[in-house]
């Protein structure tokens, strides 16, 4: 059991809970960026056989894209849209926090019962990966602002990335890169879409889109 890895994983759980409990969009963007940095640390810490230049390069690339470029894009979108806070989420912030705890319990339960091939780096890592994915899903379904839903999507991707880290690190990295590229493009498109929606309709509350009639 690696105490440093566990500490980083606990920090990852805390960023997830912060995402659920915070109403300020800029703080949530920071929190997702922080998750990316922590994932980079996990990639480095979860290596029993030492670090190579290839791993360092991959960790650096992932961290720069997810903690640098994506948050920059999102911040720009938030500024242009003028969205500062999630005012009235479909599920309240305190309720979201408590739901997050339930999800954490579920993730630990599932991770404990899951029989997965290959050696695991840390028993907590799978649980945290599942938890991050579920928090992302919860954010997507429980927030009104399109930006917060994008953040939920990013958190989900972080969870999938962490899940990949829990097993072989070398082989599925190509897959990982593919996912990263997908996310990059998706956030790019979302940023543009949010911008256009806000220019047309003065707000980015997605639940009002259903009121559109032709």
């Amino acid at each position: 059991m690696n105490p440093w890895l566990d500490s980083v994983l606990v920090l990852l759980i805390l960023t997830n809970l912060y995402l659920l409990g915070s109403s300020r969009i800029s703080a949530c963007i920071q929190s997702v960026a922080m998750q990316a940095v922590l994932l980079g640390l996990i990639l480095l810490l979860a290596q029993p056989e030492g670090l190579g230049p290839r791993l360092l390069l991959l960790a650096a690339a992932g961290t720069i894209i997810k903690a640098g470029i994506l948050p920059w894009l999102l911040r720009r979108a938030a500024r242009e849209v003028g969205a500062q806070t999630e005012v009235e989420p479909l599920v309240g912030f305190t309720t979201s926090l408590l739901l997050g705890l339930v999800l954490l319990g579920a993730a630990l339960h599932v991770a404990g019962r899951l029989r997965l091939p290959g050696q695991e780096r840390s028993s907590l890592l799978v649980a945290v990966a599942l938890f991050t994915t579920m928090v992302g899903l919860l954010l997507i379904v429980s927030r009104r602002k399109a930006l917060m839903q994008t953040l939920g999507y990013l958190a989900m991707e972080n969870g999938i990335y962490a899940f990949g880290l829990a097993f072989a690190v070398d082989e599925p990295l190509l897959v990982e890169m593919g996912v990263l590229l997908d996310v990059f493009v998706a956030v790019f498109v979302m940023g543009i879409a949010i911008h256009h929606i806000s220019r047309e309709f003065d707000h980015i509350d997605t639940d009002r889109l259903s009121a559109l009639k032709d």
């Binding site: 059991m1 105490p3 566990d6 500490s7 994983l9 606990v10 759980i13 805390l14 809970l17 409990g21 912030f93 305190t94 926090l97 408590l98 997050g100 705890l101 954490l104 319990g105 630990l108 028993s123 907590l124």
Partner: protein
Amino acid sequence: MSLLASLIHVVCALLLAPLLPGIINRVKAWYAGRRGPPLLQAYYDLWKLLHKGAVYSKTTTWLFVAGPIVGLACSGLAILIVPLGGVPGLVAFPGDFILLAYVLGLSRFFTILAALDTGSSFEGMGASREAFYAALAEPAMLLGLAAMTVQAHSLSLSNVYAAVTWGAMTTSAGPALLLVAAALLIVFLAENARIPVDDPNTHLELTMIHEVMVLDHSGPDLAMIEYGAMLKLWVLGTLLVGILVPVRSGFLGVDLIVGLGGMLVLAGLVGVVESTIARLRLVRVPQFLVAASVLSILAIVLVMR
């Protein structure tokens, strides 16, 4: 030997507790560029209040008189239970952390009763808020201590805190202990009416919680309430210092001195927090306290995994 160290801790707590608000106020004054009140101001205040007479409204009953007495007695009892780092509490038995929670609860209950006894609607409001926030802070504290009991495999606070060593901090229990420390810090600030939750300086504002309940007390009664509050600050502070200063040298004298130093540093830290953080809006406070409970539950999940 251990009994002597515990006794010295209790005496030190009784003597030094009024020093903590003094340090907090000095740090706050230093941040604001003022000189601030003397370090011993709380002692002078207590001395002054003890030499004044008390005024009792005709509408009050014996409850109003009993409130401060029970409050001080409960705080004094709590001092006997809590350990200071490696120094065990004077009274230690399995399950004493539950007694601690109930003793603090009893003190709060009588303070609230005394406030309601005055018949003032203003004090009733303060009492309502105090009860509400305490109800949210108590699970955070109990769950946090429960996580520590699971980690230490003991139900006695003194054994639990003796198990918080530097070695335990660097193994897998470290993250859980730090989470408990964070939760206890929030409880510490909330229960002692410190800044993110309540502002101890706003004596006549509608947002205040704790100060409003003691508006009608005067003279020796007020001195007892103030001294009881200082002891409570010390009690909850020891719970926090016991985790954050994991020095268990094996020599109780060294542990005692390190622990006392930790308490003084903690008071300075509270001053820094009060100077740099704004008070939360009243509606946000419950969320802050629920976050403390969430941290405690997370700690339990981690140690039971």
